[in-house]
Amino acid sequence: MALALQTFATVKDANVALKAQGTCYFGGGTLVVRAANEGDISVSGLIRSTDPALSAIEVTGGKVRIGASVTMAAIARHPDLGTLARAARAVGGPAIRNMATVGGNLFAPAPYGDFAVALLALGATVSTDDGETPIETFLANRDGSRAIVTSVGFTVPKAGDFRFLKVSRVKPKGISVLSIAAMLEQAGDGTVSSARIALGCMADRPIRAKAAEKALLGRRLDQDGIAPALAAAGEGTSPITDPIASAWYRAEVLPVHLRRLLLS
């Protein structure tokens, strides 16, 4: 069947249309139009919603809610989201960033999905018409997810608490060897009081480095302090092998890059 796009004013109506066979949600197009161009004939109906809420960024009292259709470029230039600009700019080149959406990034398979890595470290929640889901749960179940993602929400990190690193072979626009996002809060004495570390390319989707997070608690961000976290960084990971790098290489350099990020 030929490809066709259906446009709905509300997410609710679009969700209904998505119940039909062979349909897929159309966000920025960077994933689904590419698939169609490449000969994926499993999708014949592209469904989108023009609900303006999907394109809104709301920042209130330290909390932010980003509509699922907001592009990476819009995040990168938003005055209140400066801490996230680096992660948003890690996605694609300028044209891709004008198209790729937050919602789409949640579904991008490794080595794509660097912004989702950032969201995972931020402890974001993912909203659909069915309610809110912690991002970790959402990512784990995303293959079966049908309801349109409407927004993501999180607390805007304080400057200095959030760190992001993407390692790529090609500069400035290569896809990831790996990416790391870390949300670290420190007590007055400089010891880490809370830590969330997310990894890209260390599985088929973004995952938390929970052993490393635990090993950082109560430690200082110096060479000795982070050593146990580095040793534990690879726990629970199953890095991908692709044309960019092998699983072996990703596992080998993860502690190196994590160290550089933590000491930066």
Binding site: V167, R169, V170, K171, P172, K173, G174, I175, T241, D242, P243, I244, A245, S246, W248, Y249, E252, V253, V256, H257
Partner: protein
């Protein structure tokens, strides 16, 4: 952690034209009634600028400015046979054919001019600006515009020429391999300077200094295009490129420009290009083929620089961070 520096050198030569010869190319040249010149070929311009170079060669030979020459090529209904654009043969083979055709056309042009000026054709020369002058008496002259008009409408002469260039095919002797692969060779020497991150195996090429000997730079700006682009491709081959990253395993071949790795605009080495010209005996105005050889010397120069930096030999291309890291780990005492 350490960023370690090294440098390496490599020197190479490269044959011009199809190996063992036997690869003909033809050209036709004719003038229009107003003294513009058409070059007809069936050679293909791949973006290296063959059309422009053929125009300059024809213009030089006829004695007119390049903008008076139009090149019509890559149409099998109009253009005479060319073996194709490959093996650094375009400039050399087609250029020679164009020279031969243009010389023949020039001879007719001078003969017509001689009749108009009532002198011997052998006493005439061109000024490169579109005029034909009597040697030693430049005040006695005629424009090529007027010569072409005369040839067409008064004297019934076709100012045209045919060119054919063929290096006879060489057949290798079975037991000794005696053969003539090529009639001329370009040369190069590259010095590369790299930094290697010994914790990740990542290589940054800081500088490449490329010396190329190419016979003759027919158009220096276009030669520069080829040489700079080729140098980039050489570095790319050294460090990045393959369709089978786990060769001979067939899995994980890249299918797009994200997965097929090449240096991006943020990965460029500081590139210096120096050109020497030792004209080849049989090249058009001494030219050799620069387009292929310019991408070769960077590969071993970078490989040697990596060794100089970190003391491990990567004898398998491409020299990926993974290969370097594995070698470093194998070398390090546990």
């Amino acid at each position: 952690m350490a960023i370690r520096r090294g440098r390496g050198v490599a020197a190479i030569n490269y044959p011009t034209g199809m190996n063992l010869g036997g690869d003909p190319t033809q050209a036709l040249v004719h003038s229009t009634p107003t003294g513009n010149f058409m070059v007809t070929l069936s050679s293909v311009d791949l973006g290296q600028g063959m059309k422009q170079i053929m125009a300059q060669i024809c213009a030089e030979t006829i004695g007119v400015p390049t903008d008076r020459v139009v090149v019509d090529t890559a149409d099998t209904d109009t253009g005479p046979h060319c073996m194709g654009t490959f093996a650094s043969r375009g400039t050399h083979r087609a250029g020679n054919a164009v020279i031969q055709a243009a010389r023949e056309a020039r001879q007719v042009m001078l003969e017509v001019a001689a009749e108009e000026l009532e002198v011997n054709a052998s006493d005439l020369e061109t000024d490169g600006q579109g005029n034909i002058l009597v040697k030693g008496a430049p005040q006695k002259s005629i424009s090529i515009f007027d010569v072409a008009l005369s040839a067409h409408f008064k004297r019934g002469r076709s100012i045209s020429g045919r060119g054919m260039f063929l290096i006879p095919r060489s057949y290798p002797e079975k037991e000794t391999g005696a053969m003539k692969p090529s009639t001329c060779y370009a040369h190069a020497c590259t010095v590369a300077e790299v930094e290697v991150d010994d914790e990740t195996g990542e290589v940054t090429v800081l500088t490449v200094k490329n010396i190329f000997e190419i016979g003759r730079a027919l158009n220096p700006k276009m030669v520069e295009q080829q040489l700079v682009g080729g140098s980039w491709m050489g570095i790319s081959h050294a460090l990045y490129e393959t369709t089978e990253p786990y060769y001979p395993n067939r899995d994980h071949g890249g299918t797009d420009f994200n997965q097929y790795l090449m240096p991006g605009p943020g990965d460029l080495a500081e590139t210096e290009i120096i050109v020497l010209e030792r004209p080849s005996a049989d090249g058009p105005y001494g030219a050799k083929g620069p387009g292929e050889m310019c991408a070769n010397p960077q590969i071993p120069a970078v490989a040697n620089a990596v060794f100089d930096a970190v003391g491990v030999r990567i004898d398998t291309l491409p020299i990926t961070p993974e290969r370097i890291l594995r070698a470093l780990k194998a070398q390090a005492p546990n």
